[in-house]
Amino acid sequence: MPSDKLTVRGVSKIYSQDRGQVVLALDHTSLSVQEGEFVSLIGPSGCGKSTLLDLVAGLTTPDSGEILLAGQSIVGQRGKVSYMPQSDVLFPWCNVVDNVIIPLKLQGVPLAEARAEALALLPAFGLEKFAASYPYMLSGGMKQRAAFLRTYLCKKDLMLLDEPFGKLDALTRMQMQGWLLDIWQRFKHSVLFVTHDVDEAILLSDRIFLMSPSPGKILVEIKIPLSRPRHPRMVTEKTFIEIKRELMRWLETGIFAQEEETSWQNKEF
């Protein structure tokens, strides 16, 4: 579909590990993200979610398949999308402002201008009081917000978020989800969001791609018909529960399927 923001088509990735062992991390995976769409990628640990984001970010190259951004191949090209890694990766030698303006500095924006732009955005990210704080002074949630602001300042049309709330406690997590919904409703980026958490995926997404592990592939694509704007309270609604039930059913069959898949896989190698 040419109207897609991001198209991943038939992408496979093989990692060779120590002692000549190979791992098929992704097996002919396809997905798409449309303009202004929030898409989640959900699946068990080790199914290749981070690998897929790495491929889109150009950090590795696929062994087959194509990756298109607005119709143009971006295989192996870096700096085309906004990317937020699984851990916050804030630099301890920079305060919050200087951490978040790193993408601007890379693009050659003058320092004073970059700082002014970041300062103006800090309130929206709940960091206005922490402009001059160093990362070790921040709570986990604040670190993630700073990392998210840095990602936002990459100013690319597509955002890749790798489990941004994975390490937070349940309460902070809920708070951050509400906050991300606000931000997203305001700025309407195209987002590809990786998570382990079924509730989180349903609450935030327009569509969910469910992955099965070893080898990683897309099991099913599910549309979320919940209305926008959304709110964390919606997790108790009837439609929400129904969607969750369907997703859980898929997850269970996915795991059964995976067992057959693996035995077949062993014969193959």
Binding site: A57, G58, L59, R78, G79, K80, Y83, P85, S87, V89, F91, P92, W93, C94, I102, P103, K105, L106, Y134, Y136, C154
Partner: protein, 259 residues
């Protein structure tokens, strides 16, 4: 704020306890010398050493100036050479393979053996002493900085390249600041050895400097002056150490606040 008192007490203890140990040691020394009436040229009492230090303070100061000059020039040269080598090695894997093992191996050559060669080549002037200091000091700087560059968190490098940074930007914005604590560990070690390097250089031939002052004093059996020179060398080394420490705290406040 509650912790303030504890921190202060901890700092005082770390300062007072070693001072106490030192005082105890000096008093024992003084008493033993007095009791056994050991001859002054063999082992002078601490009080005699201090007296000697005071009486030759002008002379020692002149010699110290020379030694300090050699030390600072040598240390500066070592920093420049160490930073250049470590950075070049980090830039090119081939260069690292070609050079790094040799740098490590070079440390098995005793400096005492090389120093006479420097005298032969460069005479009795300032240069050979500066070179001895630099030879002693460049190694810890090079090795520590090389480690610092190598041990940068790979997540940081990945994030930078995902954001489209080129090699130079990654070096300037991530590798350099991340390696700073390692650089300063190297500089701290180098700084403490540097005065010793200058003194060794002077032993082999010089007209001025604490090394030559020590040689002359010991040849005249003015043992109290030898000890006076040792005190000055210790104070100089400590001063350099504190200078490096202060510089480190100034340039990397984030590193110290973190703990």
């Amino acid at each position: 704020m509650k912790n303030w008192r504890n921190i202060a007490r901890g700092d005082w203890n770390t300062f007072l306890l070693p001072t106490g140990t030192l005082l105890g040691f000096l008093i024992t020394w003084e008493v033993l010398v007095k009791v056994t009436a050991i001859e002054k040229w063999l082992l002078p009492a601490p009080s005699a050493i201090l007296k000697a230090l005071w009486s030759v303070k002008e002379l020692i100061w002149q010699h110290s100036l020379q030694t300090m000059q050699e030390t600072f020039l040598g240390l500066a040269l070592a920093v420049v050479v160490g930073v250049v080598i470590a950075t070049a090695i980090d830039w090119s894997e081939e260069l690292k393979k070609a050079v790094y093992p040799l740098i490590i191996a070079s440390q098995t050559i005793p400096i005492i053996a090389v120093a006479p060669l420097l005298i032969i080549w460069f005479g009795y002037g300032l240069l050979p002493k500066v070179l001895v200091v630099a030879l002693v000091c460049f190694f810890p700087i090079t090795v520590n900085l090389t480690d610092g560059y190598r041990l940068v968190e790979s997540d940081m490098l990945r994030l930078m390249s995902a954001m489209g940074a080129n090699r130079r930007q990654i070096f300037r914005m991530v590798k350099l600041p991340a390696a700073m604590p390692f650089f300063f560990s190297g500089l701290r070690i180098a700084g403490t050895y540097s005065v010793m390097g200058a003194v060794i250089g002077e032993w082999l031939g010089a007209s001025r400097g604490l090394g030559i002052f020590m040689t002359r004093s010991s040849q005249s059996f003015l043992t109290d002056r030898v000890f006076a020179a040792i005190i000055v060398i210790t104070i100089l080394s400590l001063a350099i150490f504190l200078l490096v420490e202060g510089l480190a705290r100034l340039t990397m406040p984030w590193h110290y606040q973190r703990k």
